[in-house]
Amino acid sequence: MSVLEMQDVRARYGQIEALHGISLTVEEGEVVVVLGANGAGKTTTLRAICGMVTTTGTVNLHGTNIVGSDTADIVRMGVAHVPQGRGTFPELSVVDNLNVGAYVRKDKEISADIDKWFEIFPRLAERRTQVAGSLSGGEQQMLAVARAMMSRPKVLLLDEPSLGLAPLIIDDLFKQFAQINAELGTTMLVVEQNANLALGIASRGYVIEAGEIVLSGTAEELRNDDGVRAAYLGV
């Protein structure tokens, strides 16, 4: 069974339909990328999974349809979402951001987990008592990822993690994604414009245009596709 399966998903903002019937699957432990330009529906795809936009169709999480469920309940079912623009809590300290990331957990290992993420992102450890709003863009993205991972999700949704970050920081961040996936087995769905990077850590991908999936294939196939090369790889 796929971890995540979207079937003919339509999503609308008021009168405007943004997704016109999207279908995609993500298997256990896989990293899947959705490529697309601005306004193609990448963010909406992730918001549809999390119940943050009016949605019809089917979104199966481990075989259970979650369309119409409350966002907070979807999170409890093992989905973590790093929204565009970081989605940290600017007035809360770094430590409290991580604490609140573990809000749905009831076990005793929360502080041990915080220490673990401080080891993975030492920059955050140095700023543990600072409010998140005072961090640099790269640090905020690290915090947003660590915050999302604090819920020990089965599926991690990443919304354009490279947006607005310096190239070196992006490289680092994507290495961390690959490592998290390899070591913890976290399934990931990444939406990106930066196809080069995203295809580097993904096994498969989809291309979305104007609210519809126009192409899908393995990372290798997409990298060699002329359309993708022209539109997203700049070659």
């Binding site: 007035e91 609140v100 863009g137």
Partner: protein
């Protein structure tokens, strides 16, 4: 000098009451960026409930005030669930109008149930003619000092709840970024409901303290609410400590500063205590013009 000191304690204790009400305004504002105009009505009703428990049923006054505050917490939680949550929180005007409506409903119900005549209300602290300590000839009355003590305890309590409990963490998360709070699994509706209850509890305690100094009637909190707005605006509407300090400053402006200006600055003898409300409004206006975020409020820091 002794008169000045006495007036100062008076001002600080008035300020402490404004501070407690201002904190209740700030709690709601932090989470929703809304001003809850029903806060005064909730406090007023809490004092009437304290009156029922303590004077009519004969319970100790402190217990009565706490029970009144607890009842108001439950009432506010119900109000939030039924009258506030169904509305789109990002559309402020309807919700603010609803809080206005709730304020008037509470007043009407209080007048209907408890009558319209003024009722005297005792102080939970010793308030006899000899219940004071004397410092430099100034009489510091226990009923006044007690109010300041309550403010300190209440503020300590709210910091504890917000910073050391899970619901407090959730509340701060919702206040900081509602959408992200949902994304970590926080039920925002329930969390805001908790905020309403907490704020109403604060207001209820304040009502039970203020009533002794003003007498009890369905409108006794109206003026206090204006001073508390001024306090919260001055301190910064999203800062709890700011609300407290703002409250104390407003209290000090009301007494001793305003009477001193009246007595000693030539040409200001018109500045009687009736004009205290005007001074409060001028302060609100001044703060909004010069420093809209208030003394301790955050102009939101966000780097993208």
């Amino acid at each position: 000098m002794s008169l000045f000191l006495q007036r100062m304690i008076e001002g600080l204790s008035n300020g402490a009451m404004y501070g407690v009400v201002a904190v209740s305004l700030v709690i709601i504002f932090k989470a929703t960026t809304l001003i809850n105009f029903a806060q005064g009505g909730l406090a007023m009703f809490g004092a009437y409930m304290a009156n029922v428990f303590a004077i009519e049923q004969g319970l100790p006054l402190i217990v009565g005030i706490l029970m009144g505050a607890a009842v108001m917490a439950v009432v506010a939680s119900g109000i939030e669930r039924v009258l506030i949550r169904p509305f789109d929180p990002s559309n402020h005007l309807p919700v603010v109008l609803i809080t206005f409506g709730i304020a008037y409903i509470l007043q009407a119900v209080a007048a209907w149930k408890f009558g319209t005549e003024f009722k005297s209300f005792p102080s939970p602290f010793p308030a006899g003619p000899n219940d004071h300590i004397e410092i430099a000839g100034a009489r510091l009355r226990y009923e006044r000092l007690g109010v300041v003590l309550v403010l300190v305890i209440m503020v300590g309590l709210v910091h504890l709840i917000l910073n050391k409990t899970k619901i407090g963490l959730a509340f701060r998360a919702v206040s900081s970024n509602t959408e992200s709070a949902k994304l970590v699994g926080v039920k925002t509706g329930r969390t805001l409901n908790f905020g309403w209850a907490l704020a109403a509890m604060f207001g209820g305690v304040a009502g039970g303290l203020v009533a002794h100094f003003t007498q009890l009637d369905s409108g006794f909190m109206d003026k206090i609410l204006i001073f508390s707005f001024a306090a919260a605006t001055l301190g910064g509407l999203d800062s709890i400590n700011g609300a407290v300090i703002g409250g104390l400053i407003i209290g000090l402006v009301e007494s001793p500063i305003q009477p001193m200006v009246r007595d000693y600055v030539p040409g200001f003898h018109f500045l009687t205590s009736d004009l205290a409300l005007l001074v409060a409004f001028l302060l609100i206006l001044g703060v909004l013009l010069v420093k809209p975020a208030g003394l301790f409020g955050t102009t939101r820091v966000e780097r993208v």
